[in-house]
């Protein structure tokens, strides 16, 4: 039988926490940027202008049909050169975290956009009509009447997507960026204790995601109760 030895974890906690901060940083930035861009994409998708609607649809469908691993590989091939040129950063500087932030923001935006579009469509069309009849412009009606209701309806779904994003951020592994799981791997390999470290990482992800998704489920049921 395998003999467990958990002694690597306690001294590794500060390092693991550093990795967790990278994971959380990617998750939160990609959530904020992804929801902002996703909202723009969703509105464009429903625009009267055919070209804009097509562009938004193409963006969303492209990202949704390519594996995240390939998207990460693509961005880590393309972006560093761009980032270096725009911000005139020297080649020695580490741009991996910036690249990861941009990648996950743009990728998640495609998924958020679909949720937000459904959310906007779930708001009764009379709401838009009433806002326009009150003399609001299209933009005002969207911003002050439709979007607040849409976001309230779809908040649980957006959070569920964010939990998925939190899990998916572990894939920065392919770009050898040390997020929480990356750090667990580094410690495990260093001490020859991969079994314990991977189990520990899995347990941490499980507890975090389980608690969050249970809360989201409860919130969703409460929203349903109000409707």
């Amino acid at each position: 039988m395998y003999e467990f030895d958990w002694s690597s974890i306690r001294p590794g906690l500060p390092f693991l926490w550093k990795g967790m901060k990278v994971t959380l940083y990617i998750t939160l930035v990609a959530m904020a940027a992804g929801i902002a861009l996703g909202t723009v994409l969703a509105i464009l998708r429903m625009a009267k202008n055919r070209a804009l609607a097509w562009l938004s649809a193409a963006y969303v469908n492209t990202f949704r049909s390519i594996p995240l691993v390939m998207v990460i590989l693509w961005f880590f091939l393309l972006l560093p050169a761009v980032i270096e040129r725009i911000f005139s950063i020297s080649r020695q500087e580490d741009t991996r975290l910036t690249t990861a932030l941009v990648t996950f923001s743009l990728f998640q935006a495609a998924y958020y956009a679909e949720i937000i579009r459904a959310g906007i469509q779930s708001v009764k069309s009379g709401q838009m009509g009433a806002a326009l009849a009150l003399g609001m412009t299209n933009g005002q009606a969207m911003r002050l009447v439709v979007l607040p209701q849409a976001f309230r309806n779809m908040a649980p779904l957006l959070l569920t997507q964010t939990i998925i994003l939190f899990q998916d951020s572990s894939l920065v592994y392919v770009a050898s960026l040390a997020d929480f799981f990356g750090v667990a791997g580094i410690i495990g390999t260093r001490d020859g204790r991969q079994v314990e470290l991977y189990l520990f990482a899995g347990a941490v992800y499980f507890v975090a995601c389980f608690i969050l998704s249970s809360l989201v489920k409860r919130w969703q049921n409460r929203l349903k109760g109000h409707a």
Binding site: Y2, I66, P67, L68, L73, Q167, L171, Y205
Partner: protein, 247 residues
């Protein structure tokens, strides 16, 4: 500017076996197809069983299947893959670990990836099957039981045939997700499409050509699955139900 050299795919690959770089890509494509197909079978069978348990009037079976879904949905796929590949062989009981370790290294990669993707996707299918069964009106089950069917018979002849037809659309998107997720297996070194793409970059330095070819193949695979599933959906349509209609 990038120096485009599409002819790189026709050049003999390093290693001297006479294979071209195109052959490398095709090996990757075949592996992606193989691992996806095998995992899909596991996911479908296991997911159906667990989905039935999720609706079965038994506390034990309900608890078991719920625990399965929660565990496999709340741990990242990458972490699950590492658990299957690095951890499971060490801690598995009944000599399964020893059996796994004496397999050819390529086979070890395949088995671990297959099980990982299969049970990961299975958790999603469980929820689809449960939703499908729950979407049927209660009268269906009652009618089955009233006809004298036992509960397993009611599932087999009444509930499942309807439920599966209803959930074909969500199942096809799970199938597409599975193919996309299989790219994660490149992290442990399974020689599937994404892995071969990276190999090509390392050997030829023609990164754009390699990534474009690999990405296009993923998209093509996904389109193929969607077309196939649309055909299945048409064949399996219940007349008079969900826009099925007669002929």
């Amino acid at each position: 500017m990038h120096n485009w050299r599409w002819e790189v795919f026709l050049e003999p690959a390093q290693g001297g076996s006479g294979a071209t770089y195109l052959d490398w890509v095709l090996v990757g494509l075949r592996m992606t197809a193989a691992v996806s197909l095998c995992s899909w079978v596991i996911a479908l069978l296991w997911g159906s069983l667990m989905g039935i348990f999720r609706t079965y009037p038994s506390k034990l079976l309900y608890g078991l299947s719920t625990a399965y879904v929660e565990v496999f949905r709340n741990i990242p796929l990458l972490v699950q893959l590492f658990l299957w590949y690095f951890v499971a062989p060490e801690v598995a009981p009944l000599g399964l670990g020893a059996w796994f370790k004496q397999l050819h290294p390529n086979l070890q990669l395949f088995v671990a990836s297959m099980l990982c993707l299969g049970f990961f996707t299975g958790a999603r299918i469980t929820e689809q099957v449960r939703a499908g069964i729950e979407s049927l009106s209660r009268g269906q089950k009652a009618a089955g039981l009233a006809m004298g069917f036992t509960l397993p018979q009611t599932y087999r002849h009444v509930l499942l045939p309807m439920a599966f037809r209803i959930i074909i659309p969500p199942l096809s998107s799970e199938c597409v997700n599975l193919v996309k997720n299989s790219a994660v297996a490149s992290t442990i070194g399974l020689m599937e499409l994404a892995y071969q793409g990276r190999q090509l970059v390392d050997y030829t330095a023609q990164s754009y050509e390699s990534f474009i070819a690999v990405t296009a193949l993923y998209v093509a695979l996904n389109l193929l699955i969607l077309l196939f599933m649309r055909w299945v959906e048409k064949k399996a349509r219940v007349p008079g139900f969900m826009g099925g209609g007669g002929r």
